[in-house]
Amino acid sequence: MPLRQSPIDNPQFSVSGLKAWYGKTLVLKGIEMQIPTGGVTAIIGPSGCGKSTFIRCLNRMHEIVPGARVEGSIVLEGQDINHPNVDPARLRRKVGMVFQKPNPFPTMTIRENVLAGLRLTKTSSKSNDAQIVERALRQAALWDEVKDELNKLGSGLSGGQQQRLCIARALAVDPDVILMDEPCSALDPIATARIEDLIHSLRENYTIVIVTHNMQQAARVSDRTAFFLMGELIEFNDTDSIFTKPTKQQTDEYITGKFG
């Protein structure tokens, strides 16, 4: 039985009856979820439960996989994003994404990487490029480390710096939402701490949805936590409540480490 959540004011995403397939395999089995605007929403759950698939539905990255398909509705700003009139490219400028493995563009310099979203879509105006680069890198807490080497290749940075560069790149196109799929899982603890601080500073101005395998991380960075299990949303509540007094037995078993 799908989880029912009482309606909330001004949700960023209203997801209802969301099903997602890879070929014939159903991996999301009817998700009902309202993601509030602003703050950090964490998604936890055991491997293979559909966390990545779920957030990739939120910016229509799911449909890029050959044979992948969705059903149900995801309403963003009063508009179902899967409506045929919605341009997925424009949606993705509103709903940015940071991946598990840092993926700066290897042929581009640091500056070009930050501007990549604007250049790719030909919306860069040249005149305020310098401001955009500085602002995005400052927001991503990378400016001080790279301000003197903006013309070096982005692939020369450390893993943690590359990931912050990818966050800067996502911020430069001025999105409302940033989706992050295990953004720290390829990083060491110090680089992870820096990204967590960064997420904390971004929560004021953006809606952040972060998938994480690390429950401490979810507890540290998020305001709300959703627990997924085998393609279903089991429980969604304030992070404090989820970790201190979960209402579902499966949630309790998962957070106390009985499985997963």
Binding site: F99, N103, P106, G117, L120, A170
Partner: protein, 282 residues
């Protein structure tokens, strides 16, 4: 703790492999040394800048050299854009249906078809049907067909090495598929595509059979004045000289081979340089 005797067989096998490498290398070296000894004395500036002649001492390779350069330029101009375009289509847009699989299998097989067959095809299509005659144009189009499969296969391999995460990175920034291909995927694959193209072109430089099949001339005392001009090329000139009975002409042929080898080595060096230069990046 004790040796089992397996290493002995291992050593013997490695020795055998080494032998298998050294034999052809040694033969190649002997061949080259022989050519150089025959031809080095003949390789003068006037040899490069003279027209062919009935007198071996006066004969030069100018029309063949110029013809080869034009031919290769035209061949590259036809084959490289088409080959890279086809590779981008097959790799990025082709999808996975029976049609693209059929095309793939055919391209892989075409790369192995003997070049004389391409020559006969070129004779039928370009020389006769399109009525380009025995011109540079016919020669270049024929050679372009010959190297197209090689360029396509090499370019597809280069595109396939571009990590999918980069394409997704582009989409996540709101780019369309074409924008991602043009600005991220192709720039990354370009060194590999160029290396493949250069090696393919260097194969075309040495091709003789298809040019003979389309009827390229063997005795030319003028320079080509445009794509529709009759022409000769280095391998044909060499072929012509070695088939003469007089030993002086065979020496000319050796000198011609040295020129051809020098051009081939230059192309290969360029390909290696490109590969080295861009390898570190990624």
């Amino acid at each position: 703790m004790y040796r089992t005797g397996v290493e002995k067989w291992e050593k013997a096998f490695i020795g055998l492999c080494l032998f298998a490498v050294l034999v052809p290398l040694a033969m190649l070296f002997v061949l080259l040394a022989d050519v150089v000894m025959d031809g080095a004395g003949r390789l003068t500036w006037s040899f490069l800048t003279s027209l062919p002649s009935r007198k071996a001492e006066l004969a030069g390779i100018k029309p063949a050299l110029v013809g080869s350069i034009y031919l290769i330029g035209l061949t590259g101009a036809f084959a490289v854009p088409v080959g890279i375009g086809a590779a981008i289509y097959l790799e990025e847009y082709g999808g996975d249906n029976w049609l693209t699989r059929l095309i793939e299998v055919n391209i892989a097989n075409l790369a192995g078809v003997p070049s004389i067959i391409y020559g006969l095809l070129g004779l039928e299509i370009f020389v006769r049907f399109a009525n380009f005659g025995q011109s540079l144009m016919s020669g270049a189009l024929t050679l372009a067909l010959l190297i197209l499969p090689i360029i396509i296969v090499a370019s597809r391999e280069a595109l396939a090495t571009v990590p999918n995460g980069l394409r997704e990175g582009c989409y996540a920034l709101g780019s369309t598929k074409w924008q991602a291909i043009r600005q991220v995927v192709v720039p990354m694959a370009l060194p590999g595509m160029l290396t493949g193209s250069i090696l393919a072109i260097s194969r075309a430089i040495g091709e003789t059979a298809p040019l003979i099949a389309i009827g390229a001339l063997t005795y030319v005392t003028f320079l080509p004045d445009g794509p529709m001009s009759p022409f000769t090329a280095l391998p044909i000139q060499i072929f012509n000289w070695v088939s003469r009975p007089q030993p002086e002409f065979v020496i000319n042929a050796a000198a011609g081979i040295m020129v051809l080898m020098a051009i081939l080595l230059m192309f290969n060096a360029l390909a290696i340089y490109l590969r080295q230069k861009y390898q570190r990046r990624s």
